[in-house]
């Protein structure tokens, strides 16, 4: 059906797949025990903001919803150089002993469902959950909405635009079986300058 549709020039925008996001809290514990990476407690959603009042309204609704919670996180919306918007959700720093990423995941999921409910599901690109280890190096766990898979993005220390591929693969192997991991390495987008990294 998909092939026929594309042959007829009727391809549709791909809808986002939100299911796998709730596996993140347990995956965070695995990363902490096996590699020593601790979540920073923050998170961000990257999406395409269409022009027009429809989207502006959906985005305002979304921010209002997040800020109405009792332990409301700080919300910030920024634009990156590629024309994508990042909605940053800032929670207080994560407690390595008793911490739980459940709240963050609920927030991220609320963002996604609001956008989807307003008809902007195809505009979601990825979600980023930053981690850091004791030496201060940071790694992002990235969720690709269209594929429904995770991968790690680890900028090499030193500030140059280089990736620590060994660490990324190590994280993939640690999370294999716990989360759906992205097998196709060419889909491991580089997200330079992403918030929280």
């Amino acid at each position: 059906m998909g092939l026929l549709r594309s042959l007829m020039g009727r391809s549709r925008p791909v809808q986002a797949n939100l299911d796998a996001l709730f596996g993140v809290p347990s995956a965070a514990i695995t990363l902490q025990t096996s590699i020593g990476l601790v979540p920073t407690g923050d998170g961000a959603v990257c999406y395409r903001a269409p022009a027009g009042s429809g989207f502006a309204q959906a985005q305002a609704d979304m921010v209002e919803l997040l800020e109405s919670a009792s332990d409301a996180p700080q919300i910030r919306v920024t634009q990156d150089g590629f024309g994508y918007s990042w909605l940053e959700v800032d929670h207080p720093p994560y407690d390595p002993v008793a911490g739980d990423l459940g709240g963050l995941c609920t927030d991220l999921h609320a963002v996604n469902t609001t956008l989807e409910g307003a008809g902007f599901g195809p505009s979601l690109l990825c979600s980023l959950i930053p981690f850091a280890d004791a030496t201060g190096r940071s790694v992002g766990l990235v969720y690709l909405y269209k594929q429904g898979t995770f991968y790690a993005f680890a900028p090499a220390p030193g500030g140059a635009q280089e990736r620590d591929n060994l660490l990324e693969i190590q994280i993939r192997d640690a999370l294999d079986g716990e989360l759906p991991v992205e097998r196709d390495l060419s889909r491991w987008l580089a997200l330079w300058g992403a918030p929280g990294l």
């Binding site: 007829m8 020039g9 009727r10 925008p13 429809g54 959906a58 008809g119 195809p122």
Partner: protein, 315 residues
């Protein structure tokens, strides 16, 4: 309840289906006419004509199979790595992730004509190529709109569709040439005319007329199909970037620029014109029938409709 802002265009789909159906009909008509002509003559000509027809299809298959390398060579484009063109690659990376499609190879052609094209026999073997002219002229956002349009061509397998659609025309074109040779040799051979001549009209003349008619009809239909495919790619591209306005302003810039470019540059690129974002041929007569691309007004109108749908308030 999640709803979609994607609105289909049943009219466009219906027209496209009709044109594809007619192109198939033209192909069948060509074969049927050839069979009828040769059945009445019972000569060895059937074999030759079938051979020529098969050769025509072979040419079409070859064009499709080698479309990436041929088009890249025709445009004098070179493939670039992510290190050589990081921003272009990053843009395409993101668009392919949004569209959930494999990433094509990326090429840059060194010409001042602002254009972009996509080619390759399958989405896995596709190439998306931009010219240095378009890189210099468009803003990042407009360039992204153009790339999304080209990626939609890849996703719609337009190279395959257009090649299959044009195979009747190619076969008819080769038959026309074959028939001319046949007439020539038939005329020279004098007495060999017994094969050709048992029902009054020389057989090669019949073949010539039939294949010319088929060629002309399929030419017009092909151009029509090409315009519909462009409209589809515009739609899909605009929904992918969610910014129809960026593609619209890119189209305005490009078509304005292309019409004012001197003729000399235009001839160099006309071979690959059917696959480009805007046709690199200046205005000709019979424009509405024979142009490979829809008019700028039509394209802008469609993009405005998409813009309205995306901007519609939620409540």
């Amino acid at each position: 309840m999640a709803r979609s802002r994607f609105v289909g265009d049943p009219g466009l789909t219906a027209r496209m289906t009709l044109v594809m159906f007619l192109l198939g009909g033209v192909f069948v008509a060509l074969i049927a006419a050839l069979m009828a002509i040769f059945a009445s003559s019972s000569s060895g000509g059937v074999g030759i004509a079938m051979l020529i027809g098969l050769a025509g299809i072979g040419v079409a298959v070859y064009q499709w199979y080698s479309s990436d390398t041929v088009a890249m060579k025709a445009m004098r484009a070179r493939e670039v790595t992510p290190q050589q063109a990081p921003e272009l690659h990053a843009m395409i990376d993101r668009l392919c992730t949004m569209a959930d499609m494999p990433k094509p190879r990326v090429g840059i052609a060194d010409t001042s004509v602002p254009n972009a094209f996509a080619t390759g026999r399958s989405p896995e073997r596709a190439v998306v190529c931009v010219t240095t002219g378009i890189l210099g002229m468009l803003t990042a956002e407009e360039l992204e709109g153009v790339l999304a349009h080209e990626l939609s061509h890849v996703a719609h397998r337009d190279v395959l569709v257009m090649t299959v659609a044009s195979s009747a025309g190619i076969a008819a074109g080769m038959l026309t040439q074959g028939a001319q040779y046949g007439m020539f040799f038939g005329g020279l051979g004098g007495n060999r005319g017994r094969d050709n001549n048992n029902n009054g009209l020389p057989i090669w003349l019949l073949v010539l007329v039939v294949s010319l008619v088929v060629y002309a009809v399929s030419f017009v239909l092909l151009r029509l199909l090409s315009r519909y495919r462009e409209m589809s790619a515009d739609r899909a591209g605009a929904y992918l970037t969610m910014k129809p306005a960026a593609l619209a302003s890119a189209l305005q810039k490009i078509s304005g620029e292309i019409n004012t470019i001197p003729q000399k540059d235009l001839r160099q690129v006309s071979a690959a014109s059917a696959l480009c974002i805007a046709p690199a041929v200046a205005g000709v007569s019979l424009k509405t029938l024979t142009s490979t691309h829809p008019s700028l007004e039509q394209r802008l109108e469609q993009l405005a409709g998409i813009q309205a749908e995306l901007g519609r308030p939620t409540r």
